[in-house]
């Protein structure tokens, strides 16, 4: 009796909580895929984060495909063949998206070249200006008057 009371008055037996999903490995793979897929009925949310009924249906579908051992490409093809490229948050590299993927790099290289060219040209232009002796003397005069700049 005493032992029973002692046990009951102590801290509650803490059982370890079970993972929500039946198979954490499958779930992890689902998460990895779902984070790059778009919820089609939401205003810009991933399939992983959305609570919409269609999102739950699609997650169930994808889970089923993972369990069936389909590859990532096959799962993505399944969705794209039904919903189009819109469902992918990572735009596929196609003829129409070349500008998208290549653009930033082209801009960077172009910008870099433009900068170097502009600097070189400017360097030359400025060097062409010759200071006369009079101007030299004026400069020295001003400098010797000296104002301490903050």
């Amino acid at each position: 009796m005493l032992i029973v009371m002692l046990v009951l008055s102590g801290p509650t037996w803490a059982g370890e909580a079970r993972p929500l999903a039946d198979d954490p490995v499958v779930e992890a793979r689902l998460k990895r895929l779902a984070v790059e897929l778009r919820c089609l009925v939401c205003q810009n949310q991933t399939l992983a984060d959305s609570d919409a009924p269609l999102a739950e249906d699609l997650r169930r579908e994808v889970r089923g495909m993972i369990v069936k051992d389909m590859s990532d490409e096959e799962i993505i093809d399944f969705l794209v063949s039904r919903y189009g490229d819109f469902v992918l948050y990572r735009p596929p590299l196609k003829a129409t998206t070349t500008l998208l993927w290549v653009g930033p790099f082209v801009l960077l290289v172009g910008g870099g070249i433009a900068l170097v060219v502009a600097l070189r040209r400017r360097g030359r232009k400025v060097e062409e200006v010759v200071i006369t002796d009079d101007e030299h003397r004026r400069v020295e005069q001003l400098l010797s008057q000296g104002v301490k700049r903050p």
Partner: protein
């Protein structure tokens, strides 16, 4: 009655704005001093009129006046007062009024702090700002009137979206708008300079503090938005590259480039034309953002409710303002001469390299944001451009910029020597590489990205140390303290801002590298462990809020047997709209956040619970705050305060000449 006063105030404001926009600019063009002197009084009256309008709307919200359509649509009688007031900017019409109000605040500030400017410049600046406000006032009065009446009055309001019933709503939009709208001052400076033809180093010096302050507000505004999304949305994300987020980030990138470009133009008089273009671009991106968010052209969780008429109006406004300024640029810019020259390897060169990187980054974000629209418009199909794209493109662009951040402050103006720089930075580079390689292993996991992030952060800190040491070594004055005291505040501001970025990088790197998440089903008494922390579920009880009922969970978190935190996540149902909202519970720590989110009640009395351990996540927003503080410190530098006091010796010669030419 009060709403009508507000409405009338806006009509009057439009008239004053027209006067402010037209007369001073004309006056400056013809040299008429009395016309130019209209600018400041007009701007101040405009401020008071819009203040009255804003006050009237605030009154309508405070008094739960549901005969005003806007109040009925966004408020509710059970909404607490602070959220009723925050609801002023909860939807389109009111947020436009906030935009305009903040524009007038900046105008007022310009009238207070511009006495050292030549009168022509001042009138042009206020004139340009006046013209911008004409656009917004006209917009409100024609298709977005916040004072429109609802007859008969609604018995009850539709309530503010529960997601917005949060302290974040009180601070985030005003901060953000102070930033966006603040770039209008730099924009006005740029146009004034183009109109007057007097683009010289003085112009850059005058623009700098205004631009920096606006930048500080924008930094804080974006950080608040990110933090708010993190704790509000329930899945621990803090940046999604959503179109509306991008709409605020692009001006920030352009603004950062502008601050650095202004430094070149200020110090060396070079690249004036580029700086002017950047100033136009920064504000144009702000306006573009305003369009994107309200026109329905892009899908976003944050977008306001849309209406094609509004979209067309803003588009026309964009065409006039941006198109007009770019026409002015094309017309006047060619006349501007070159400034001082400098070598390719020099501080100026490095600052401009920073510009190329940041502007390319902004352009890439713009490309990604608008690309789905481009494709749809050309009938090439519908695509989505999301985080995978932006992360892949942005990181490679920002990495070199972060690396250059360490070198720039150490490089000499006009001409620097690469070998010399290499020698001075040897130690810093070595420390960074070693830490980047070793630390991840010590922490438990080595990946290239993790290592890169640590490399960049340590590099920035190490080069900052080198920079300070050099300053001490080469400063005038006897003691170390004296030498440090002699260093201008602008330098400390820069250093602090750069270190803020390093802190930000640490936060992002550590969170992405080491965050863990667990999705569990918990019965009362059960525990779950993440890392060192054990979470024990102590059940759920019902609580009543001011306008909601909630199921509140209790979680005891312990570490090594000692209690670390008690968390109370909630699942709320707001009575007015019956909307369900998850309110996560977060234990904020210096080096980690513990985050608990209640899911759904399950069949056997258990609950689905999501637990997160996010190391260093608060360094993300802490870093932004430090950045902004750096900016504030830089602006408080003596040279700006002195120039306000109109001491003749410290006003640059160029400005005096310019003043005389215009008189």
């Amino acid at each position: 009655m009060i709403p009508e006063i507000g409405h009338y105030a806006l009509i009057l404001a439009l008239c004053v704005a027209l006067v402010q926009g037209i007369l001073p600019i004309y006056g400056a063009a013809v040299g008429n001093s009395s016309l130019m002197s209209v600018a400041a009084p007009a701007a101040r009256s405009l401020f008071f009129l819009v203040l009255i309008a804003f006050g009237c709307l605030a009154y309508a919200f405070a008094e739960k006046d549901f005969s005003v359509l806007y109040v009925a649509a966004t408020s509710n009688s059970q909404l607490p007062l602070h959220y009723r007031l925050a609801a002023i900017w909860g939807a389109h019409e009111g947020s436009l009024l906030l935009w305009t109000f903040i524009l007038t605040i900046w105008m007022f500030a310009v009238t207070l702090f511009s006495s050292h400017l030549p009168e022509t410049m001042r009138s042009r600046i206020l004139g340009v700002m006046g013209l911008v406000s004409v656009g917004f006032l006209l917009f409100m009065l024609s298709v977005s009137n916040p004072f429109e009446r609802l007859i008969p009055a609604a018995a009850e309001g539709r309530d503010l979206n529960p997601l917005l019933q949060d302290p974040g709503m009180v601070l985030h939009p005003p901060m953000l708008y102070m930033g966006y709208v603040g770039f209008s001052v730099a924009f006005a400076f740029a146009l004034a300079a183009l109109l007057g033809g007097n683009l010289d180093a003085a112009w850059a010096r005058w623009s700098r503090p205004w631009t920096t302050v606006a930048w500080c507000f924008l930094t804080v505004g974006i950080a608040l938005g990110s933090w708010w999304a993190y704790y509000e949305l329930g899945w621990g994300g803090w940046w999604f590259w959503d179109p509306v987020e991008n709409a605020s980030f692009m001006p920030w990138l352009a603004g950062t480039a502008l601050i650095h470009s202004l430094a070149v133009t200020d110090k060396r008089g070079g690249f004036k034309v580029w700086t002017v273009l950047l100033a136009i671009m920064a504000f144009s991106l702000s306006l573009l953002g305003t369009f994107l968010v309200r026109s329905g052209v892009l899908t976003s969780v944050h977008a306001f409710a849309t209406d094609p008429k509004r979209g067309m109006f803003i588009l026309a406004f964009l065409a006039v303002v941006i198109g007009g300024s770019l026409v002015l640029y094309a017309w006047r810019a060619p006349r501007v001469g070159l400034g001082g020259g400098f070598a390719t390897v020099s501080r100026e060169g490095l600052l401009l390299a920073n510009n190329v990187l940041l502007v390319t980054a902004a352009a890439s974000v713009l490309l990604g944001t608008l690309y789905p629209l481009f494709m749809d418009a050309l009938d090439l199909g519908k695509i989505s451009v999301g985080p995978p794209y932006f992360d892949s493109v942005f990181a490679p662009l920002i990495t070199p910029a972060l690396f250059l951040m360490g070198i720039g402050p150490l490089a000499q103006w006009k001409k620097a020597s690469l070998p010399d720089l290499g020698k001075r930075l040897r130690w810093a580079f070595g420390v960074s590489i070693v830490t980047a390689l070793v630390l991840p292993i010590v922490l438990g996991e080595w990946t290239p990205l993790l290592s890169l992030g640590i490399l960049l952060a340590v590099w920035i800190f190490a080069t900052a140390v080198v920079s300070v040491r050099e300053r001490i070594a080469h400063g005038d004055g006897g003691s170390v303290v004296a030498r440090l005291a002699g260093v201008p505040r602008a330098y400390w501001g820069m250093l602090l801002a750069h270190c803020g970025i390093a802190v930000f990088v640490v936060g992002v790197t550590m969170v992405k590298g080491f965050e863990t998440e667990k999705d569990v089903r918990m019965n009362v008494g059960e525990t779950a462990t993440i890392g060192d922390y054990t979470f024990r579920f102590d059940g759920v009880r019902d609580v009543m809020g001011p306008n909601y009922v909630a199921a509140q969970g209790a979680f005891h978190v312990s570490r090594d047997g000692r209690e670390a935190a008690v968390l109370h996540p909630e699942k709320r149902r707001y009575t007015a709209t019956n909307q369900i909202m998850t309110e996560a519970a977060i234990d904020t720590g210096l080096v980690r956040d513990l985050y608990v989110s209640l899911g759904e009640p399950l069949d056997d009395g258990a609950w689905s619970v999501r637990l997160y351990h996010k190391p260093f996540v608060d360094w993300i927003w802490g870093g932004c705050l430090i950045m902004a503080l750096g900016g504030v410190l830089a602006v408080s530098d003596r040279r700006y305060r002195l120039s306000w006091r109109r001491e003749p010796q410290t006003v640059p010669v160029g400005a005096q000449l310019a003043g005389r030419q215009m008189a």
